[in-house]
């Protein structure tokens, strides 16, 4: 049963920020509500004011600029991102991830900003966006700040957002030459969240050596984490099956998974090892062809 709240419908971002500044801790933001309404019904979230930004078209856009990269407004739906030819062409991993996020109905109404701000460690977009070195733009009535998505999650279901702040945009840098990003999650139903998920970005230099690597583990710790020891295994080498396997073993150690009804801690570590090996290989093969 959802507790009563006062519904506030701002006409634009400025009004939304003024409402947040006024009500601070007493207000929650709803966009698509695909996660929020479920936990409100479970009584886990009780709020005096609900600020509805779903209709703010001002924040619904996908723009590409060769210098700045891809900019996605917070109220853009998953479905819009997955179907955008711009995304499919320049960031195929992002479109592929979105296509496997929950179900069509959820993707039609749910938004990228809402998903990221919900801060579920099992969410699909965050690991991929962190692998792509994305930042988020955060606005309040006094100004904006830009935070790497990697630093956006201090803890389980927590973000660095202050009560008067709104996540307004995601920025993904332009893809670098000879690089690729791959993502896989392990789940029983395709529309489920991953029991674990792994995103890997790799770039290769002219000598065929791995120049840079970003390995991100999803649902393998309270927040999406960079597996930096795993990255060190990859950087500076010509990658082979042996190194892919070593990367998997390193990620197994580096993860900090919990046990829950979906999987034990050991099983999660096993899955992380397998997926890291596979995803690293997939990213490597794509980067070498790029």
């Amino acid at each position: 049963m959802i507790h009563d709240f006062t519904y506030l419908k701002p006409g634009n971002v400025k009004e939304a920020l003024a409402m947040l500044a006024q009500h601070r801790d007493s207000a929650k933001i709803i966009c698509g509500g695909q996660s929020l309404l479920i936990i409100m019904r479970q009584g886990l979230v009780v709020t005096e004011y609900l600020v509805d930004i779903k209709g703010l078209d001002e924040l619904s856009y996908i723009i590409y600029d060769p210098q700045a990269g891809l900019k996605i407004g917070a109220t853009t739906t998953h479905r819009t991102i997955e179907s955008a030819s711009l995304v499919r062409e320049k960031y195929p991993v992002l479109a592929a991830m979105e296509t496997r996020l929950a179900s069509i109905q959820v993707r039609n109404w749910g938004t990228i900003g809402g998903n990221l701000a919900h801060a579920d460690a099992a969410g699909d977009p965050a690991p991929v966006l962190i692998a792509l070195n994305a930042t988020v733009t955060i606005a309040s009535s006094i100004g904006i700040r830009i935070v790497p998505l990697e630093e956006f999650y201090p803890g389980l279901f927590e973000t660095v957002l202050s009560p008067d702040e709104l996540l307004t945009e995601v920025i993904v840098p332009p893809p670098s030459a000879r690089s690729a990003t791959a993502y896989q999650k392990f789940n029983l139903l395709e529309s489920d969240q991953g029991i674990v998920a792994v995103a890997v970005s790799l770039s290769v230099n002219d000598a065929g050596v791995c120049r840079d690597a970003r390995v991100v583990l999803g649902n393998a710790a309270p927040v999406p984490i960079r597996a930096k020891n795993t990255e060190r295994v990859l950087i500076g080498s010509k990658l082979t099956e042996k190194i892919f396997a070593k990367a998997g073993e390193t990620a197994r150690e580096e993860a900090d998974p919990v046990a829950d009804i979906h999987a034990s801690e050991d099983y999660r570590r096993h899955l992380i090892a397998v997926l890291t090996r596979r995803v690293t290989k997939e990213a490597w093969e794509q980067a070498c062809q790029a």
Binding site: D4, Y7, K9, I104
Partner: protein
Amino acid sequence: MEKQLLRFYVNDQEYELFINPKTLLVEALRDHLGFTGTKRGCDTASCGVCTVMVNGMAVKGCSVLAVQVNGMNVTTIEGLEKDGKLDPIQSAFLDEGAFQCGFCTSGMIMSARAFLNETPVPKDTMEIRRGIEGNLCRCTGYNSIVRAIDAVAKGKYRGVCDDSK
């Protein structure tokens, strides 16, 4: 709590409701307007029985606040039949026996209709299966449902019923 005025269209008919803003779309449709063809199942956006179309898009009525569809067009299972004639997808479900207990049927048909509107010519049956991934059926094993959607996609009902929606 202050009640909110919601003005929207359901199956091309305009309605006005003065409701508690926590009212879900499925509650507005079923409890306030009597469109009980839309079912209520898991309430966690998992099962899909509450699927309706909002401005042509399939959404789960249990996970949308009714006030968020202000000014929009909602289509429920009751809105598919036109002038006493079933929608092709409804006829196909009957012909293929694409239900047993029937609880998933209205949500399944709304997802199927939205899918066919967006994808009139699916590449293969896997694409059809992906199109209804957000709907669970515990009886049929999905094969008869997929056959029904495939039959409409292959034009079996063209001319028999209006397929222009």
